[in-house]
Symmetry: C2
Subunit: 456 residues, 2 copies
Amino acid sequence: MEDAAARFAGIVGDRNLLTGDQVSEDYAHDESLTCDPRKPAHVAKPATAEEVAALLVAAAEHDVPVTARGSGSGLSGGARPRADGLVISFERMNAVLEVDTANQVAVVQPGVTLAELDAKTSAVGLAYTVYPGELSASIGGNVGTNAGGMRAVKYGVTRHNILGLQAVLPTGEIIRTGGKTSKVSTGYDLTQLIIGSEGTLALATEVIVKLYPRLAHSATLLAPFGDLTQVMEAVPVLLASGLAPNILEYIDNLTMAAITYHEQLSLGVPEEIQQATQAYLVVGLENRDGDRLDGDAGRAGELLAELGATDVYVLDGGSARKLIEAREKAFWTAKAAGADDVIDVVVPRSEMPGFLAKARELALAAEAGAVGCGHAGDGNVHLAIFCKDPDKRHRLLHDIFAAGIACGGAISGEHGIGQAKRQHFVDLEDPAKLALMRRIKQAFDPTDILNPGVLF
Amino acid sequence: MEDAAARFAGIVGDRNLLTGDQVSEDYAHDESLTCDPRKPAHVAKPATAEEVAALLVAAAEHDVPVTARGSGSGLSGGARPRADGLVISFERMNAVLEVDTANQVAVVQPGVTLAELDAKTSAVGLAYTVYPGELSASIGGNVGTNAGGMRAVKYGVTRHNILGLQAVLPTGEIIRTGGKTSKVSTGYDLTQLIIGSEGTLALATEVIVKLYPRLAHSATLLAPFGDLTQVMEAVPVLLASGLAPNILEYIDNLTMAAITYHEQLSLGVPEEIQQATQAYLVVGLENRDGDRLDGDAGRAGELLAELGATDVYVLDGGSARKLIEAREKAFWTAKAAGADDVIDVVVPRSEMPGFLAKARELALAAEAGAVGCGHAGDGNVHLAIFCKDPDKRHRLLHDIFAAGIACGGAISGEHGIGQAKRQHFVDLEDPAKLALMRRIKQAFDPTDILNPGVLF
C-alpha cells in the first residue's frame, strides 16, 4: 500500500496527497442518510486531466479502487469510498475556464460549484438552468448523477444541458466528446453515456455546459388545493397552456408545515385554508418582459382557480425566494425531523396520484411514514421515509420502488442509485438490461477500478 | 441461404418476406449520393417486436447481416444493405400507438412518418418539434441518425426529444429504456446510446417522443446581408435577445438563387439588393399570442437592421411556407444541379465564417465547388460539393472534415456517418474513442450482425 501512496504522491505532489490520519472525515461520506462513513486509504487532489489519467493508471496497476468526489452533496452514497480506495477529489480543478457568449456555452472544470457558475454566467446575462436543491454541488457531481432539480420542467436535466466533455478513461486515455454544438451525429454519444454513470465509466475533467438567456422577470404563485389529485390534474393543463412554467412543484401539507416552521416562513395563507389543504402547487413563471410576465401570472391564476385551487397567492419576491429556498432545503428539514431515508422515485406525471396513494398505503401497512414534496411537472416524487428498522425499511423501499416501476417509472429521477439503492436496482431492473450495462462497464473499465460497488 | 429464407418466412409469414427477384430496387439504397444501390438477399416486414427479436436470433444463427430500414430517406448510406443481407423494413410497424396529452408524449412504432405524427399531434394542439427536411422520414430512421433539422435551435435534436424506447438487442432480448419521464437517473442511459447509433447497436421497436404545445402564431423574417460574417455575428445576438427563434437559417446567394429558381419562388427582394447580397438569414418566430408575436417580429426586425441587414422582409404566410419548403428541399435542388455529394459538418456557430472560408479555399484549390446553406443557429453547415473525380473528392472531403474538427466540430451534425463517410470517420476520429466505440459495439452485438460496414 505504501508503494501505491508513493506513486500517487509522485503524480500530484506530496501536499496534494492525503493518507492515513491526514484523511479527514469529510472524505468518508456524502449526504446519503443510510451509507455509513468509510474513510479511504488515500485522497489525491489532481490539478490536470493528465494527473487524473496518471492516477487511474497507477490505481489500476496497484489494484486500488477509485472514487471521484466533487462537493460530496450526493444523496445515494455514490461518493462514499472504499476503505482500501483512492478518492480523487476535484477540489483544485475548480475553474470556470470560459464563458463563451457567442456560442452560449461555458467550459468548466468538474470542481466548479453551481453557485460559482451562476455568478459567472449572471455577469453576462446568461444562465446555466439546472438547479438541483444544493448550490454548493459541483458540476462534476451533477454529471455523475445526471442531476435534475426544479427547473427541469422547462429546461430539462443535466443530460439535456451538457454538450461535451473532456474525460479520462479508466485505461488512462484522455478523450473529448461532443463540443460547443447541440447537433452531433458522428458515432456513439459518449457524452450521454458518461452522464449519469456515477463515476463508474470515466471521470469528467472538463464540461461544456449550455447556457440560456437569463430572463429578467419572474413570478411565483402558490395555490392550495383540497385534494392532491386536483394538483396533479392541474399540471398538464398548465403545461399545455404555453405559459412554459419553469417551476411546477407540489408540497404536501405536512411537508409545507415542516418547512415553513423550520424556516420560520409566513406565506399569508389563512389558518382555515391551511387546515383544508391537502397539497400546494407552486408555479414559477419567467419572462424577458415585465408586462408579459404580469399577463402570464394573471392567466396562470385564472387557470389555477378553474382547476380547483382554494385560492391563489402571488408571492412577493422575498417570500417567493424564501419558499423556493425552503423547498430546496426540504431534505435537511426531513433529516432534522428524523427521516430514516429520502427517495426520489420518478413516474409519468399522470401516475403521481396513484403512485402516491400506493406508497402511503405501503407505508401505513409497514407502520412507517412517507411524506413529501416533489417536482410535479416531472413526476419526480421526493418522499421522506420514517421507518427505523433497517430490514423493514428495505422491504418497504423495495415495494415502493416496485410500485414506481409498475407505473412506468424508475427508482431514481435525479439522486442516482449509488450504494444506497444498489441492491434494489439489482433486484428490480430487467436482467437483460443489467447484463448489457455490465458489458458496457467492462468495455470502459476492464479492471473494474472505477467506483466498484456503485450501481451494480 | 434457402435455409435462412425459410426461417425468416416462418417468423413473418411468406407474404412478408421478399427474396431474390421479389426484392425491389427501393430496398437497395437510401438517398446518399455516393453509395451505389445494392440489393439485399432478403427483406422481412415484421409486425411486432417479438418478430424482430426472432429475426435477429435467426440472422445471427445463419450469419446473415441485418440492416434496418424506415423510409429510406437517409443521406449517408446507413440503410444500404449488404448483398448477402437481410433488410428489416419497418413499413408494417407504422402505428401511432398513443398520443398522451396528460404526459405530453406520443408512443409510436418506428415506421411512423413525421408527417403522420404531425397530423396526429396537431389534432390535440401538441407538436413533435424535430423537423428534418423530409417529412416522409420515419421516426425509427430519425432515431438511427439522431436527426436534427431547422427547429433544433429552439427545441434540440432527436436525442433531446426521445424519452424512451422499446428496443431489440442483436442477442434477441426485448428491452425497455427510459419512459414517459424527462428525469431518470437509474443506470446507464441506453436510450441515448441507441439514438444515433445508425442501426448498429439495437433496433427500436417503439419510441416515446416528447411533445410541446403547438403555438398558434408564427412569423418568418428574411434578412439579406452583404457579408456572410455579419450573418454569423447576428446569430448570437438574436439568441441572447430572449426572442427564442425557432428557425435561424442562412442561405448563401448561389443557393438562394438556385432554390428560388427551382421552386419558382418570388420573395419580393429587389434585384439590386439580391446583387449586393452574399447571404440571407431566415428568422422564424412563434408565440401562443398574436400580439406578442407582432411585438417580437418588430423587435427582431430592429435587431437585424442594427446588425447590418440591408433590409428586412416579413414574409406572408404563403411565401414563408414556400421559402421554408424550398430550403428543406435544398438537397434535391443540389442533386438536380449535379452535386456530387452533400455534407453537413457541424462547428461551434462562432466558427462558421472561418470554417466556410476554409472550405471554399479548399474547394477552390481542388478546382471543385462548395456552396450551401445551413442551420446558422446550430453551426450545422450543409455544403453541396461539385467535384466529379472520386479520389480528388475524397481528399477534398477529408480536408473539409479535418478543418471542421479543427474548429471544435464534427463530421456530421445530423446526417450521420453511415457507409458514405465511414472511411473519413475512421481516419479522423481519435483512435482511443474509436476503440472504445468498438468495445461498446461488441458489448451489444458480439456476432456483429447489425449493420456491419456502417460507422466502423
